[in-house]
Symmetry: C2
Subunit: 232 residues, 2 copies
DNA sequence: CGTAGCCTTGAAGGTGATCAATGTTTGTGG
DNA sequence: CCACAAACATTGATCACCTTCAAGGCTACG
């Protein structure tokens, strides 16, 4: 950890994100006005569904899951947010409460920006609006992709999810999923029972296609996983 | 049908939509520049998934379904677009081909605007971008709502869909769904088999909860449908 | 008046859910 | 550092729900 002025150091880090590409230092300072970095421990809650939406965040490190409670007790995971993602920003414009709960997956870090800054600086900035649009659009595409497989057998849907997440990998170690993931979370993301997920993935483990080490899933044979999706 | 100058008449009609609320006549003319009204017959295709995205549309009358082909032969419906909706606009910014196929449900009418107008007038307009954002956001909410019910029994998911669509009703006849809908389309929207949908809805028909007349579904007992979603 | 699209019904079968019990790892506090 | 709790992974048995396949009827429309 370099021992820099905290605010300045973080602004340097943030300026590298796609969301802020090509913006001047001065503009960036306005856009981030009033923001603070925040650390979260594993399973710590950033905000609850139903809370008044008073801030939004840029993910810097680790990962957060966006979760919706279901009528039954169990949760449904709507999105996995990884570094560079913005969470909670989409609701800023509407004046409604948060629609989902955000929970850290492993130790994570984000930059938390007050709602007032959104209204003053973000809402009227065409470029930012365009980029938020692009985020929303890609999230929608992911959901639709998965929905398209709703009639496919479970092993295909799991394979699809793993590959989706693997695609987010940046740089080195491109065989390990970029976020710690339990079988329960995979099940919650697909809307199926844990046991079903376990049965599928246990088989893959025995076949040597994947390996799990403390919630970190390694894809040993991506080619075989791809094959699973394609088969009849 | 009043016999007015076509362009002017339609601009009058369009100016009433939420998307363009509060815009001046002059600005509206710029925004709609190069656009043409277009009629579609039942089942006629507005554009195909994979086609180069050269235009987008505002729905004026009737309805369009946005469809994704699945690996198997069958289709999956990702959205029902009704009057006031914009379709194809979200992909304009990305330079990619259309991600879905748009098909008219019953005789329908839309206003088709060239991509160039989007780039010249829409992309740089903060207000329009905000409103497109809001559209995207509400579509996302609908999909998530439905995904939240993925583990619920089928009759609850069908009930949820019907109520979602009933909510779009504008004014009179608030018991009849605002678009002609086949059982096949309900099945394609939920990602289940037609026969399953039929079995559920036939029972409801016999119980007098719904009634179907040439693809127009009437909800006779909304209260009972609501009850179904809540039970256990 | 025939075809195409849509609806219906029945029988058989499979996939994944549920329930229950147990093992394993991680994290916490004395 | 140990003990205990909590979270996570696993396995088996049973069963319900939905799918699939097949056959037939109804209605709209050219």
């Amino acid at each position: 950890m370099p021992n820099l002025n905290s605010t300045e150091f973080i602004q340097n880090e943030i300026s590298g994100l796609a969301l802020f590409k090509g913006m001047s230092k001065e503009r960036l300072a306005e856009i981030l006005n009033g923001g603070v970095p925040r650390m979260h421990k594993h399973r710590q809650v950033l905000y609850h569904a139903g809370d008044e939406a008073q801030s939004f965040s840029v993910v810097l490190e680790g990962a957060y899951k966006l979760v919706r409670p279901t009528p039954r007790g169990d949760d449904l995971i709507v999105y996995f947010a990884t570094p560079g993602d913005v969470i909670g920003a989409l609701v800023m414009g509407s004046g409604k409460p948060y629609p989902v709960t955000a929970i850290a997956m492993g130790p994570s870090r984000c930059y938390l920006i007050p709602r007032s800054t959104f209204q003053k600086e973000w809402a009227g900035d065409v470029l930012l609006q365009q980029r938020l649009n692009a985020f929303l659009y890609s999230r929608m595409s992911l959901i639709q992709d998965e929905k398209t497989m709703s009639r496919a057998p479970l092993h295909q849907r799991i394979a699809n999810l793993l590959l989706q997440l693997l695609d987010r990998n940046t740089g080195e170690n491109d065989q390990i999923l970029p976020l710690p993931l339990t079988r329960q979370e995979i099940a919650d993301s697909l809307g199926v029972a844990v046991e079903s997920v376990i049965r599928v993935m246990s088989e893959w483990s025995h076949l040597g296609m994947i390996r799990t080490n403390d919630r970190h899933i390694e894809i040993l044979r991506p080619d075989q996983i791809v094959e699973i999706i394609k088969e009849s």
